[in-house]
Symmetry: C2
Subunit: 345 residues, 2 copies
């Protein structure tokens, strides 16, 4: 008897929701702009067209919801990377602690230079030396210690120009793209050359992207037990995935196992990810942020005739490939109405 | 004007849905059993209690939806692993092709034994030799070729006992647990010692688990270009993640970045995953499937006083740890009403 009453009752509730949904369908279409921080132009248009074409049932470019994967580089694509990657600032801040634990390092390069705090001298260190600094400062602790250290630093650190937490320096137009894609059924991923664990410490809060949707340069961990027999994971100075250049599509395959439908980057480190994305069947979106706004942010890269600072290299070759293969170049100067959420609109 | 009309209209539609939802809330509670293939008993009870306690708002054990991660071993936990892992059967089927490409391998171990097809002799090969077979048969092709080869094999292959596709041999009670957890907001993952790419080829169709939620033993890939300049990824014979034993929590950290709230396994290969899961704060669920049903499936493992066949080892030590640390042991014989979906109920 309860079974029948329940079935009848559920049927009535179901009918009521159908009426509600039908009524909502009759309301005039909402004309709200999903990308209010973008100027009208080819960049904005390519995003909106891509979303419309791939999510409208019956469209020849329709993509099944499960295959709606969008990947975003972080440094220079989602937040400011100049004059130096925030994560490098974090690593340098940790050097004194590392040297305190091993005092003999104080007289050895690259620690000696790192301890001076002279950012220009540090920026000139060979890549191998920078990697040594990263390994030394990002390993040797439990994964929980690392996450809490990172959170503490992020809360206290301020960038040199805007005097704000680095996590305030995300690009509002890109935040809108993340949100717009998600509200159209896309799963948004960060695919960064930066440290996977570092970005995972704030990705959810800052971008609405949970840790499992962050692919980055990753070291191995080792499982072990503490004195009470409680298991824990220790971060090791051993590289598992170098998530840059060819490492980006390799990392995407390892961690996601599908080819993205859309990919966003800003440098040669993103080239292979965009190529891999565009090589898929059907409509794909590939976009590159060009830093050409010295007033509101920075202007850099050989494609603008400016010197290569080793950070976010946008070469003429990359620019030519973008034009040839139908990638869209986003001009920060022309395409973005505002850069940061904290600016006046 | 349209703006006002839209707002009013949306408000009415919203009110109607609230009425519909309220009406549904008044209907008598549905008494449908989410785990119909489970007998009443402590195993079923521990699952239902865990879900109720962690998903009821206001419960002291409540887990935020974002943190509802559940991980499942595959071989022996979600599908049949005896007398031999299906993936090993797949690899052996590929040996002739590998030898055809490199005829000199025909006279070299382990290929010589593998070519005989004598499964008992093959099962006795040293682990190193088995790994050599896996590496040789699972690499050297593009990732797309691998996926299509796997799909083709799965469609054609039949197991020796039930004469059915291996993908029919998933445990119906565990399929219900996957579904039950998902309908309560849990994200379900496979964390397997088997090949990540192999399992990803069918996980969505068979378990409703998309490729990005499969963590497994993984080799590296190499990004390159074909003659037309089209980029592709080649599977390499280089191990990146050995997702067994301590490798399971390490793999979970690498690929998911969060500690599971619930974990399911069936052998010593799952021990560290369950320990890592239980060591988290708050209520956690750890379960082990015990293969004690020689009639309907198989009975094996030292914990039952049976010889260790190297496949799905359930030791007395594991059994003791489970009892001591509050893990639940699932008896296939006593706890499962039926094993497979194709059985009569």
């Amino acid at each position: 008897m309860v079974g029948w009453r329940r079935r009848g009752c559920v049927k009535i509730a179901g009918l009521l929701s159908v009426v509600a949904a039908g009524f909502a369908g009759l309301c005039p279409t909402q004309a709200q702009d999903p990308l209010p921080s973008w100027n009208e132009g080819p960049a904005k248009q390519s995003i909106v067209e891509f979303v419309n074409k791939t999510t409208t049932a019956g469209s020849p470019d329709f993509i099944l919801p499960a295959d709606r994967i969008a990947t975003f580089d972080q440094d220079g694509t989602l937040w400011v990377e100049h004059p130096v990657y925030p994560q490098l600032v974090y690593c340098l801040a940790r050097v004194p602690e590392v040297v305190k634990a091993k005092p003999e390092l104080a007289e050895v390069e690259p620690f000696k230079t790192a301890l001076t705090g002279d950012i220009e001298a540090i920026a000139k260190l060979p890549i191998k030396d920078l990697e040594k600094l990263l390994m030394a400062t990002l390993s040797g602790m439990s994964v929980e210690e690392f996450a809490s250290e990172t959170a503490k630093w992020l809360a206290a650190a301020r960038d040199g120009r805007w005097k704000r937490p680095y996590t305030d320096l995300t690009y509002q137009p890109m935040q809108e793209v993340l949100q717009y894609l998600r509200s159209n059924g896309f799963k948004t991923y960060i695919v960064t050359g930066g440290g996977q664990d570092f970005v995972r410490a704030y990705s959810d809060r800052v971008y609405g992207i949970p840790p499992e949707q962050v692919v980055g340069t990753a070291g191995s961990t080792t499982f072990g037990y503490d004195r009470e027999g409680k298991p824990f994971l220790t971060k090791e100075p051993r590289l598992l995935l170098d998530d840059n250049f060819a490492g980006k599509p390799e990392g995407i395959y390892l961690m996601i196992g599908r080819r993205p439908a859309a990919a966003f980057g800003n440098s040669t480190g993103d080239q292979q990810m965009l190529e891999y994305t565009k090589a898929g069947k059907g409509l794909r979106l590939a976009m590159l942020v060009l830093h050409d706004d010295p007033e509101r942010e920075y202007a850099y890269g050989p494609a603008l005739g400016l010197p290569d600072s080793r950070i976010g290299t946008f070469t003429q070759t990359l620019y030519d490939e973008a034009k040839k293969d139908g990638w869209t170049v986003i001009s920060m100067k022309d395409d973005w109405k505002r850069i940061f959420a904290f600016e006046n609109k």
